[in-house]
Symmetry: C2
Subunit: 86 residues, 2 copies
């Protein structure tokens, strides 16, 4: 079975986000004073092959922990969608 | 009114994504051979103050075009949620 995964990775709430801070400053400089609390994370999409949805979840979970997210400073969540077989 | 916006920015489908390619390679090296078509974008959350949802949409749309996304190589989408007044 083929699945498409969408993975969201954000800096943990207690962690400073300098990239977000810089972006907020840039926005204020452009006149967007109404904008606040900018935080920047990653959005990752990928396809994978697995025997079952259970197994697909395991693979995505493990790849988040081992490679995609730095769990000390980031938190992740993901959703899976089964793709039609061609 | 206060709103929370979640903005998703991804490389356009026709654009090569070297970061995604490198990540896919890293995954294969870790033994995740089932994973393919990795694409990496940005996930941005922010709060903003606006008179109406219509106006809030305009502000987010404009900040995407002017600062957050490079619309030549990236496409964006966003969702808005009204926050409870404190």
């Amino acid at each position: 079975m083929k699945f498409a995964a969408t993975i969201q990775i954000m800096p943990r709430p207690e962690i400073l986000d300098p990239q977000g801070k810089a972006t907020r400053l840039g926005m204020h400089n452009l006149g967007f004073d109404q904008i606040d609390e900018v935080r920047i994370g990653k959005l990752i999409t990928l396809n994978l092959e697995a025997e079952s949805e259970e197994k697909a979840k395991e693979i995505v979970e493990e790849s988040c922990k081992k490679l995609l997210a730095n769990t000390v400073i980031e938190e992740y969540s993901f959703s899976l969608r089964q793709l039609e077989e061609a």
